[in-house]
């Protein structure tokens, strides 16, 4: 039986915090707030006291626990690697269990209490086809994560008329000598950006892989983890493990950084037989890199007119050490002039329910990103996570920039399908004004 790890399951990890305070330098929420409740050390002290039954749950405790982007930045910099992001998930589940009210419900309560936010939300909702929204399963992360965030300008209109499942059968055979690839699309790609899913599947098809795309897969569970909804996480994990056990696959690839963390970290967040499933999970960039795609692309002649492009590290790839692969793939593209962005690895500020409960802080973190982006002078910014794409677009709009946000897969796909005529790559990209 698969179940969530409880606070008790994390006891040993919680006790490994030595209170050094190094997390203060790396937490995007702390850098905004500068209060101990925002930072990992404070949360771990509370978690320890909760385990020992030494602290009463109060409004500030709940508030402090909501003040976490689950980005994992503190974990990689922690001398003892205490998995605070996972522990905060467990605390949130514990708080939801105790109070019977999920943090998201509380967060949404906070939004509806704000007139300006409500106005924007209402505008946005008017633009959504209710029919489309109904098709999204109730357990989907989008219900928790995107509708509110989506009020910003172009997000909601992006709800696609057809979702990714409508485009592809469950199984597409390829070269029998090549591995079978399982595709885990995730909610963002399935419902908001099905074209990213199409690029992903078509790149793999071009390279000759067989594709298994189970239509009964669900959300990765990250938004539910963020919201502290334990029962939903368990349901989703069981559903996904079952879906991918219907056919033998060699890899389960993701094109969304959060999904990669959500389904790849199960041995760290769940108790039960999840190891086999999670061990197959790989980010598509890592897979393509391992296949040497960047070498093939580098061998192509460089285009005479190139676009200036930068890259934003999604936290959920960066904290898994995946920073080199997307960059080298982008740098290998013939029509790209790559420009590194200052603090490319700092969080964009979305952070699941964080952006709902703490919209202003989320916007401030986004504004820092926009500032660094502006300095690069890039016309395009690529990233590897639909969540980051939404937040980056929002930050760009707020800052009045004209940079185009795209998924790395879109560029890879354009190049691969038009290698005969590299100069056409520019035409194929979303239109922006370039003077060349």
């Amino acid at each position: 039986m698969i179940r969530n790890k409880t606070l008790q399951d994390y006891e040993q990890s919680i006790n490994q915090c030595v209170r050094c305070g190094a997390c203060q330098a790396h937490c995007p929420a702390y850098l905004q707030q500068r209060n101990e409740g925002a930072v990992a050390r404070g949360k771990l002290a509370i978690a320890r006291a909760m385990l020992q039954g030494e602290v009463q749950t109060g409004a500030h405790l709940t508030e402090d626990m909501s003040m976490c982007l689950l980005c994992g930045s503190c974990v990689i910099k922690c001398p003892n690697k205490v998995p605070t992001d996972k522990i905060v998930g467990a605390v949130r589940r514990e708080l939801s269990r105790q109070s019977g009210v999920s943090l998201t419900s509380r967060a949404i309560g906070a939004i509806t209490g704000s007139t300006s936010l409500m106005k924007k939300l209402a505008q946005a909702v008017r633009r959504v086809s209710p029919a489309v929204f109904r098709k999204i399963p109730a357990s989907s992360g989008l219900r928790l994560r995107f509708p509110i965030q989506g009020m910003e300008l172009r997000t909601i209109p992006l709800f696609a008329p057809k979702n990714l499942f409508a485009y592809y059968p469950e199984y597409q055979p390829g070269d029998p000598d090549k591995p079978v690839i399982g595709i885990f699309a995730g909610c963002g790609i399935t419902y908001l950006y099905p074209e990213i899913g199409k690029y992903m599947i078509e790149i793999l098809r071009l390279l000759g892989y067989s594709i298994f795309f189970p239509h009964d897969q669900g959300c990765c569970g990250i938004p539910a983890r963020s919201a502290g909804n334990g029962p939903v996480i368990e349901k989703l994990v069981r559903q996904n493990v079952a879906a991918f056990s219907r056919r033998r696959v060699d890899y389960i690839l993701t094109g969304c950084a959060s999904c990669h963390a959500g389904i790849g970290e199960l041995p760290e967040t769940m108790v039960g037989p999840v190891e086999e499933f999670s061990s197959k999970v790989m980010d598509i960039h890592v897979f393509l890199y391992q296949q040497g795609l960047h070498h093939s692309l580098s061998a192509l002649p460089r285009s005479t007119s190139r676009i200036d492009l930068t890259y934003h590290d999604p936290c959920h790839l960066r904290t898994h050490g995946i920073t080199r692969e997307p960059r080298e793939l982008l740098q290998s593209l013939p029509a790209v002039r790559y420009r590194e962005m200052e603090n490319a690895g700092s969080c964009c500020g979305l952070g699941g329910t964080f952006s709902i409960a703490h919209y202003e802080q989320s916007q401030k973190i986004g504004a820092l990103k926009a500032e660094n982006l502006k300095k690069t002078g890039a016309q395009y910014i690529a990233t590897a996570c639909p969540g980051c794409m939404i937040q980056l677009q929002d930050a760009i709009n707020q800052a009045g920039l004209h940079t185009q946000v795209m998924h790395t897969l879109e560029l890879l796909h354009s190049t691969l399908t038009h290698t005969a005529d590299i100069s056409r790559l520019k035409e194929l990209l979303p239109s922006v004004n370039t003077n060349q």
Partner: protein, 476 residues
């Protein structure tokens, strides 16, 4: 239970949203890097010196302790609310008010993170040298309170050498201005020096003017391996005697090397028993000469291997060896007693030998590394306190370490401060008359003993430790 009127007054001063009283709020403002936990009565986040002044006056009125707090990353308990009270958090007073490129000074609020200040002044080609290991998160206010050091202090000195002027809220709530913004200033007593390193017991610093230097153009890093601590120590004194002051001169002893063996990117030789990391800075042309000269001096001393970093990446690889120490040490034993003794430079080998002897006498691992260039040794006694009688053994070990340090003409703390952790040992180093003078000063400036009480001076001396206790503490 906190007085209701006091609470209302605090809310009036800083606004209700900045006064925290929930149990979880108090819990998370009652610890520091010593991992000790106390419970304050109330936590207040402040924004300016006027608020601090009013809060201190209230604390006197209600006779309740007041505890300044920055990043809470101290190693000796300086910010712990050992007697409860009001924790005043200064992290939001984090403005850099001025960087003066003409006079080479910067004026900042105490909550500015040290590394942030360094990055900002470096944008103008300037340099704030003190670099405690915690610089990425510790605040400049905390650095001033503890007089923080760091590896670069060999060449550049410690925090007190860079503080020109302070704004201080005294224990009675007055706002003082010490020193100024000039290099030279002898008007009246040097109160600046009094407050730097006073561990928050004499007041709360609310504004700091620091001296800056021109940023060195470049630096060069080298790693030298030795077959014995003696040859490494000879190397250190040879370098200094030849009038070369490196920026940093870090050493790792044999126990430390055993911890990191096999865990470093750069190879550590089988026969290596001591390791020096030497960094020099300055103009590029001078650096080449300096590294050549250092290698020329060291080669006859019998080094196993030397490696000079060709670029930044290689320098980082060398520093990674040093950085690998702390994480790998935890594998020896779960509990670490982290001391920062300092002895005259020439005594470092004697001290290391004494530490080895203490380690074998009491059969506890002691891992030593640190700043060989200024004699500041990080002594880490690694134990498992779950073992019966271990705490008593640790007490004896620490006492012996400190006594040996003092006997060699050293100090029980180079850069961490006394706080609560080293208070029991202060008498080993400071003679009764001097200690009494310090306590008279404290009493004169803080008559109600509300400013960070219970620090530096022990109120009652623990009898289990056989100290020379001729001088009785004033009960106040």
């Amino acid at each position: 239970m906190l007085n209701k009127d006091l609470l209302l007054s605090l809310e009036r001063i800083v606004g209700p949203e900045n006064v925290l009283t929930e149990q979880s709020d108090r819990l998370i403002h009652g610890y520091d890097a010593t991992q000790k936990q106390y419970m304050p009565d109330v936590v207040v986040y402040v924004e300016n010196s006027l608020q601090v002044s009013e809060i201190v006056k209230l604390a006197n009125q209600y006779n309740i302790p007041i505890l300044p707090r920055g990043a809470g990353s101290g190693f000796t308990g300086g910010s712990l609310p050992v007697q409860g009270g009001i924790v005043v958090v200064l992290t939001r007073m984090n403005a850099i008010l001025d960087i003066d490129e003409d006079n080479l000074t910067a004026t900042v609020e105490p909550g500015v993170v040290t590394a942030h200040l360094q990055r900002e002044v470096e944008k103008s080609g300037l340099f704030y040298p003190p670099d405690p290991a915690s610089k990425e998160f510790s605040t400049i206010g905390g650095n001033v309170a503890e007089c923080a050091g760091g590896p670069r202090c060999v060449k550049y000195g410690v925090t007190k050498d860079y503080i020109l002027g302070l704004e201080v809220v005294t224990p009675t709530g007055d706002i003082l201005h010490t020193g100024g913004v000039t290099m030279k200033n002898v008007a009246g007593y040097d109160l600046t020096k009094l407050f730097v390193g006073s561990e928050g017991t004499l007041g709360i610093v609310t504004r700091i003017t620091v001296k800056l230097l021109p940023k060195p153009a470049a630096k060069k890093t080298m790693l030298v391996q030795f077959s014995s601590i003696d040859s490494a120590a000879r190397a250190v004194s040879t370098i200094i005697r030849n009038k070369i002051i490196p920026t940093t001169l870090e050493f790792l002893d044999a126990t430390t090397i055993e911890c990191i063996r096999g865990k470093t990117g750069l190879p550590v030789l089988e026969k290596c028993r001591a390791l020096l990391i030497i960094e020099v800075d300055g103009d590029q042309e001078i650096l080449e000469k300096q590294t050549d000269k250092i290698l020329g001096l060291l080669t006859p001393l019998g080094i196993l291997e030397s490696r000079v970093a060709a670029d930044h990446t290689e320098a980082e690889a060398i520093w990674d060896v040093r950085r690998s120490v702390s994480p790998s040490m935890r594998k020896i034993n779960p509990d670490k007693f982290n001391e920062d003794i300092v002895v005259p430079r020439s005594k470092v080998p004697d001290m290391i030998r004494a530490l080895e002897k203490i380690s074998s006498t009491y059969d506890v691992p002691i891992v030593n590394f640190g700043h060989a260039g200024d004699g500041n040794i990080h002594v880490n006694v690694m134990v498992d306190l779950q073992q019966p009688g271990m705490q008593a053994t640790v007490d004896k070990v620490l006492l012996e370490i400190f006594q040996t340090t003092v006997d060699m003409g050293g100090s029980i703390s180079g850069e961490h401060g006394i706080g609560t952790a080293k208070a029991p040992f202060l008498r080993l180093e400071i003679d009764p008359a001097t200690l009494h003078y310090m306590q008279m000063l404290k009493k004169a400036l803080d008559p109600n003993n509300i400013m960070n009480p219970g620090k530096i001076f022990l109120e009652t001396s623990p009898e289990q430790l056989a100290f020379p206790t001729q001088l009785q503490d004033d009960p106040q």
